[in-house]
Every structure is written in structure tokens, then in C-alpha cells.
Symmetry: C2
Subunit: 474 residues, 2 copies
């Protein structure tokens, strides 16, 4: 590819000229914005220049992913991540950096799980890509061997009834829908099998559950994720099986309905332990009582390095503060970066943060989360009143030159969701979603999957949005 | 990340409801589009469903990348790619599949190049990531050792003058600008060093040229690409050096200006050979004389597998035909898919195709190229009259649900550029550009860098656009 004018549609070439200012002005409708737009536009350009020329997030993320690694709540790695992020924020000369205590669940995977398909016809076994779902109980020490009942959904399961299901392993095999453009919609359409499958199966006397991994790709890796037990329903083991092996098992079951499955898991739920949200703050100069919270979650699943989920969101959030400091931007409103603990299997950090905010009668005007991977940003999803969404959308022309074109109704993110009330705007950074479910909750979520520029563009987008809120409020 | 409503901003959930039709209708202004929009919208949804559920491009690309591999013009691999693509198109039941003969340059890299930094102070040598630029002459058999003159651009080089430059190796070290959001703009701003550096340096008596690789990342891989010699200027060897080693050499030169460089290359320009464009055609039912050409280039550089550049564009183009056949869409206008030969070091395929089109007085109404990587698509760049661009932009609401938001003025692509006249619209698929220059023209351009869904979304976008042209013309 050598054609130089290929991408001339984009405004890079004229970025330091007044044309862009004129262009932006012409897009603004109200007078206040009209007066402010050129200054905002120039500052946003500075923010992007800084992020793309001197970004620190990629180096931070390498440390968090490769030196600390997977960091499930309650693990030594989670404690290391708390101390590491405290030190990183401490190095930025903020107004304050502190820990917020929170009790978290402590689930341990233990010895590597084993899953095997036992073909009745061939008297052969095939080991498969499998991992325990987070929060699951163990199997008996020597595992469980049982016949397999494959279903697509809970309705089909119930229609089979206790006589068919009791004593068997239930195999939930409904794939994510590949025709949905937004892969998070496909995830939403399949993930109830993982979260609630054990309860629905146990109600009918099943002895264990295996769930097709939440992935859109043909691969041998199992993807973990949380499950939930219900009071008064027997707690049975739940595991994820790779998409390739789910297909293999499904096809074998059609030929040999008496195919059995062997499952051995050594995971344990231990007593809760003390952990922390890590918080860094730049105090507002004129309206310090108005708080802009931004963050990601510091914990991750144990089988990968948590590079995209959610190391990326953590370092992007800290990068917001670094850029403010580097460019000597004094925010009118308080910016508070929060490394939330325990998003993956409890949300305790998010709940604790919201509880303390309420106790202290804090005024959060907006909360922004990055927790959808460190990929090329495409937009912001907003959960707020229509009027607030409309006002935020007025900033769209400022973001279009940077490939941010979707600003509108959407969700914020799990950690910030407990802050929800009628006044706050909850906002989620929306990166391109196509690659996320290749690595989400899997051992493939490693640093090498992160592209430096994509990570930095996300940090710059967040910084720009925070800048606008810090100047204009909401 | 477990928040399910995160991405609810996107219209996936309502895609089969009439809401979307209403939405699209409300976006259309003229009556013809008003009447046609629902049918177009439904067909585009079918196209995406087919591409994402049963796409063949990824499997084809695996073969082209891994079984055939790098396929520079004139190589046996290029011949294999011609025969392979002919067979693939032959399997689709098209109206015709044929080869179009073209003479192509035949440059061979020969034995692996060697590049070494020779530190004067330490009496030590350091081997670096280096490769010959395409078209370069060899060094003498035992290499060249010379002092190094580092410059940022041709102006600086000329200001140094012949006395400083003669007998030395000129080291062009101007980086791609990381602050440009569109990486193709950054490429455009740096690539003249690679293309014309040897001529500018030879004019002042330099013995060789090394050029900082066209990459935005810190890495040890060298990125090749074409250079051009000029008549009456001595042909000196030109090579690319990795960005990491360019930084190392630059920093050493500041401390030790008498640092030398050793360069050994065995490449050769051989006599031209016969090769082919490969063409597959679906004949239009009502306006067969109106031709819609689509394509990518079949040749690639030799050091990678040409997966993104431009295997992706090739299989996406063939996928357009497969989807038309699978969905039994009968185009009113003729669709012609062209696998262009020799884009990388000659453009002979594109030139030959345009020449024959003119000789045969063919009426090309539009030509569409995919040659910017198989990444998540973001838009189409159009090189056409303002009126035609305006009309094509009216289709934007049809593409927005699929993340295609940039439809406007831009370039088409190198291969189709010789077709340019006042009537045709030249269009380039514009994928996300952030990852492209990690792998462009390097040994890292391999199949594992391609994401199946991103590739398929590009194919679906192209198919949808071709569908609209095939129905509505331009």
C-alpha cells in the first residue's frame, strides 16, 4: 500500500490551522459553546499530542500485566496491584492519594482443572480446554463423571424435566450471536448461561454444569467469569469449555448420546479479606465540591494477565491525571481517579465507593469508566437524563476529528453503576468491540494484545472529556 | 467486565424491527431514496448476517498467507497466488473468470541482508534489524563500511553539501509523526525518505542509504517498501533499519560522531516476467455495460506473509462475489473483481487493467479497493466529483448501524488510480488505521494479526456498497 492521499478525508493535515476552529464553530449552536469551542478544541489537540507523544500508560500496563499479572480479589497479586497503583499515583504530585478499605470475596482456583470427553463408542477420552467459573465450588476430589445433557437455554432445560436432568452434567451450548455488530450485545445474549446456569441445572438435580465459553471465535481456550448461587439451591460445580471443544462435544453427543464427561476442579471459597480501592485526587480550583470520578477496576481474573480487562482502563484513568499535571491544567472541579477493587466477582469496590460518597454527602456530577478493552475508541455511552445527554452530545464536533463519533445513550460501567441517581451522568468509554471476546476472561488477555496507540487514544479521549467537564461542569 | 447494558447505544437489539426502517426513512431526504431505503436496509442486514455467519474470507486468507506466503511480483509464490485465486473464483459459479496478462518487474532479495553498527569508542559491533528496500541494487559482495551522516530530510541533507556527504552512508531518521490520528497521514509525511532517499543521497556522492523504518512503534523489525532510482543518478544501495536500532544509532552518533555502519545486501533486479491480473465477473442483468470494479492486490512483499497487505483486500473482494451468489442477488450492473498484480513495486497490474479498459471502451462507473489492512472498517474515502460524493453520502444512514461513519472525500487506492477520469468514482475502504504500521511491509504481517470479524465486517461493508451501486448505479 503506497497511495499517499488515501486517507485525506481526515483532518490531520490541517490540524494546526484555523480552519478547524472555523469548522468547529460552525457546528456549535449555542452562544456559550460558540465562545468556548476554539479554546476547547486547542486544548483537546494538546491533550492528544501529549498522550500520543509521551503517553505513560503503555509502560505502566506492561508492569501491571507482566510483573504483577492476574490479580483476583484477595490474592497477593491484587495486594501488589493496590500498592503499585498507589505508588504510581503518588509519583504524579496530586493533591491526595489514599486507600479506601473494602472487604472482598476470596475465591481460589487451586490446582488446574481437568475436563475430558469420554466417548462411549470409542472407549477413548479427549481432554478439553476447560476452567472453573469464578465462585464455583469444587468437584469431589476425584472428579465427577456423568452423562451429558446439552441445552441451548433455560426453557429447553426445564422442558426436559427432572427425570432427564437429574444425575447428569448440563451442557449449556448457546453461542454468542455472530450477526450482532456490537459484540457486547452478543455477550449479553449468552451470558445468563454462565451466571445462572448452575442454579437452573441444580434445581432439576444436575450434578454439574459446563458452559460454552463466551467467545465469538473458534478456539481451544476456555473463558472464565463469575457464576452466582442462590439460597436454598444446591451448589454444584460450574465450568467453561472452549468453543472448539463445545462444538466437538455437541457433535459427538448427536452421534453418541451416551457420551460422558469428566470434570475435576479444586477451587475454594475462602473467608473474605480486607482490600482497597485506590484513589488519587486533583482538587478543583473554583468548584471543588463538584466531583468528576473516573476509573477502571484493578482486579482481574486469574488465568490471564488482565491486560485489557481491565488493566487498560486503570492506566488510561491514571493517564488522565498525568496529562492534567504535565500540561499544568488546573481543573475547576475535583477530578478523582478510582482504581476499583473486585469488579469481577463481587463489585464490592464500586458498592463501597458509592456508599462512602453518600455518607460523605459528596456531589458527583459525572463518573466515567473504561472497562471494555484498550482498543481504538469509537464513542461514549451515557446513562443520564435526556437533557444531560443532549448537552454532552453538543461536544461531539470536538471529538469527531479523533474518530469518536458515537456519543449518546448507553451504559457507564459496572463499578460506577452504584453511583446512579437522578443527578449524575454515568459514562462508559466505548472502544471498538470486535477483538474483545477473543481474550475476555481468558489466558489470552495478555499485554502483547494491547496496541500502544489504541490505548493512548482511549486515554486521550477520556482526558478530553474530563477536561470539558472540569471547565464547563454539567 | 460484566455490565450488560454497556453498549445499548447501538441498534443491534432492534435490528429486525420496523423501528430501524423508520429511522432510516427519517434520514432520507429525496423521494427515490425514501422509497428504496427499507429494501436496501433489509438487504444490507442480510449481507452482514451472511458475512458474519458464513464468511469464507478468513479461511481463504489463511491459505494465501500461510500456504502460499509472501508473493512478490515475479516469484513462484506470486504465480501460485494467481492460480489459487483463479481456482477460488472459479468455484463460485461466476459468469466468467479469466487472466489478464501483464509484464512485471522481478526483484529478488537474495541472501539475508546484514547491517551492523560499528562503535568507534567501544570497538564493538551491534547487528541491527535491517532489510533491503525493494528495487535496491546490492552492495559489493563483501558489503560497504562507511561513516554515517544522519539527517531528518532532504533540505538538511543538501545543506550539508557534497563535502560532508560524499563517501558516507546517509541515515534518514525522520520519524512518522505520532500525533497524527490517521496513521496514513503520518506515513505520507515520512515515506519520501524511503522512496527518494537514494537519489537525493547519491547526488551528493553518498555510497548507501539507510532509512528509519516506516513504523510508529518501538520495535526491532525492519519494514521494507519500494525505492525509486532516477536516470543519470548513480544507483546506490538502500535499506530500512528498525525503529529501535535507528534510535540506538542516532544516540550513538551524538556521542561518537565517527561511528560507522556496515551494510551487506545481495538483492538483484532480474529481467521482467509475465504475470497476470486475475478477474472474476458477474454480468449485470439490465445494464451489463456499466462496470463496478472491486479489488485488492495479489502481490505482497517477500518478508512477511502479506496477510493484511493485501491478502485481506483480496479475500474481501472475492467474498463480495461469494455473498452475491449465496444470497442469489442478481446485479443489474456488472461486478468485476480484480486481483491486481504488482502493486508493491510497479503498479503494472493497475496500469494494464486501466489500459485494457480504455482499449475496450469499457464504462466503469465505480472502482472500489481494499488496501489498508483487514481491520475494523470505519468508512469509505471517495475520489469523485462533488456531486457524486454527495449522492454516495446519502447512503450513510444505511451504514451507520454497522460502524461505518466516515463517507466522504478521500482517495481510492493505488491499483484503481489509473482508471481515474471525470466520470468514475474511485473508492477506498477505510479500516481503523492504528495497528497497520506495526506490520506494514514487515515480517510481522502474518495471518495471526487478522481478526476474523474485523475482516468480515470489511467484506460486508464492501458488499453492501457494491450492492447499492449494482441496484442504483451512480
Amino acid at each position: 500500500m503506497i497511495n499517499l492521499k488515501f486517507y485525506s478525508i481526515l483532518p490531520d493535515t490541517m490540524r494546526k490551522k484555523f480552519l478547524i476552529v472555523a469548522l468547529l464553530l460552525s457546528s456549535f449552536v449555542n452562544i456559550a459553546a460558540f465562545a468556548q469551542a476554539p479554546a476547547d478544541s486547542l486544548m483537546i489537540r494538546k491533550i492528544y499530542d501529549e498522550a500520543l507523544s509521551h503517553g505513560a500508560g503503555y509502560t505502566w500496563l506492561r508492569y501491571l500485566s507482566e510483573e504483577i499479572g492476574g490479580r483476583l480479589s484477595g490474592s497477593p497479586q491484587a495486594a501488589a496491584a493496590v500498592e503499585w497503583s498507589r505508588q504510581v499515583m503518588d509519583s504524579l504530585g496530586l493533591d491526595s492519594v489514599y486507600l479506601q478499605q473494602v472487604m472482598v470475596p476470596h475465591w481460589m482456583r487451586g490446582k488446574k482443572e481437568v475436563g475430558k470427553i469420554i466417548s462411549a463408542g470409542h472407549l477413548a477420552t479427549k481432554e478439553v480446554g476447560l476452567c472453573a467459573l469464578g465462585g464455583s465450588v469444587a468437584t469431589p476430589k476425584n472428579g465427577i463423571t456423568a452423562a451429558v445433557v446439552e441445552v441451548q437455554n433455560f426453557q429447553e432445560l426445564r422442558s426436559l424435566g427432572r427425570n432427564t436432568v437429574a444425575g447428569k452434567i448440563v451442557f449449556f451450548n448457546r453461542p454468542m450471536d455472530p450477526t450482532l455488530i456490537n459484540t457486547f450485545s452478543a455477550y449479553a445474549g449468552a451470558v445468563n448461561q454462565r451466571g445462572a446456569g448452575v442454579v437452573e441445572a441444580a434445581k432439576l438435580g444436575a450434578v454439574a454444569v459446563i458452559v460454552r465459553s463466551m467467545s465469538l471465535f473458534s478456539e481451544d481456550y476456555a473463558h472464565t467469569g463469575g457464576l452466582r448461587y442462590a439460597p436454598d439451591v444446591r451448589e454444584i460445580p460450574g465450568a467453561a469449555i472452549s468453543t472448539n471443544h463445545a462444538d466437538m462435544l455437541s457433535s459427538l453427543l448427536k452421534r453418541e448420546p451416551d457420551t460422558r464427561f469428566f470434570l475435576e476442579m479444586h477451587c475454594r471459597n475462602l473467608p473474605e479479606v480486607i482490600s482497597y480501592n485506590v484513589i488519587g485526587e486533583l482538587r478543583g480550583t473554583t468548584n471543588p465540591e463538584e466531583i468528576i470520578a473516573i476509573g477502571g477496576h484493578l482486579d482481574s481474573w486469574d488465568i490471564g494477565d488482565g491486560a485489557h480487562d481491565d488493566g487498560a482502563g486503570c492506566v488510561q484513568s491514571i493517564e488522565v491525571l498525568r496529562i492534567f499535571q504535565q500540561l499544568k491544567i488546573k481543573p475547576k472541579r475535583t477530578i478523582r481517579v478510582v482504581m476499583f477493587m473486585n469488579e469481577e466477582n463481587g463489585l464490592r469496590g464500586g458498592l463501597q465507593y458509592a456508599l462512602k460518597a453518600k455518607e460523605n454527602q459528596e456531589n458527583h456530577i459525572v463518573a466515567i469508566e473504561s472497562d471494555a478493552g484498550g482498543f481504538s475508541p469509537r464513542g461514549f455511552g451515557i446513562d443520564a437524563s435526556d437533557d444531560k445527554i443532549r448537552r454532552i452530545k453538543e461536544w461531539k464536533p470536538l471529538f469527531l476529528p479523533y474518530g469518536i463519533y458515537q456519543i449518546g445513550k448507553g451504559g457507564g460501567g459496572a463499578d460506577i453503576s452504584p453511583l446512579r441517581d437522578e443527578k449524575i451522568a454515568l459514562i462508559g468509554l466505548m472502544p471498538d468491540s470486535q477483538r474483545y471476546f477473543t481474550l475476555h476472561h481468558a489466558e489470552t488477555d495478555t499485554f502483547d494484545k494491547v496496541n500502544k496507540r489504541e490505548l493512548e487514544l482511549g486515554a486521550a479521549a477520556m482526558t478530553s472529556l474530563v477536561y470539558l467537564f472540569s471547565i464547563h461542569g454539567l
